[in-house]
Symmetry: C2
């Protein structure tokens, strides 16, 4: 008689969602989803300031969404779990579905 809605950890859900709720953080996360990249490479690819990228990487790390690896002077970041991409794709698809299914304009 239980459905999916039970046993959800609201606190954990809100925490993760909050970390995914910023455009720049999403860009950074997706940027390191395929291969690990150094901070400077991320800065270069996204055109964001270095302190800003560092700040967001710290948040992403706090949420365990990325892992860190130092190599010489460089610090490499990489998405920890590919399932994150599946969830993002699901959310993206949902967003499109909600828009197309809405009855009231």
């Amino acid at each position: 008689m239980n459905n999916r809605a039970d046993n959800l950890n609201i606190h954990s859900l809100a925490f993760l969602a909050k970390c995914l709720a910023d455009e720049n953080r999403l860009r950074i996360l997706i940027c390191v989803s395929k291969v690990k990249k150094s901070v400077s490479r991320i800065v270069e690819e996204l055109g964001l300031s270095q302190p800003l990228v560092s700040h967001h990487l710290k948040e992403l790390r706090r949420a365990l969404l990325v892992k860190v690896e130092r190599s010489g002077p460089f610090v490499y970041y990489e998405m920890t779990d590919q399932r994150i991409l599946i969830i993002l794709a699901g959310l993206d698809e949902l967003g499109a579905a909600l828009l197309s299914e809405r009855t009231t304009f």
Copy 2:
């Protein structure tokens, strides 16, 4: 050669994630996930103030996550798409997985 990370609508993703990034909003959303409920019923079940519930319902509606239906003096809210629950369950599972898989404590 493309992977899941391409073609994601960053803006839409951030918008949806932001709406899911508040504990009370999540509680309200899950509260109306099975059956439609009036505002007063939600207020009663969750122990939140009526203006607060109304405010969050407005946000949920803005994100198309709930739909509204008036019946007499009551206004009933209901989750628009069951896929939302699947995504929440996926996020929840991910959160647990990230915690158990982390190497650095």
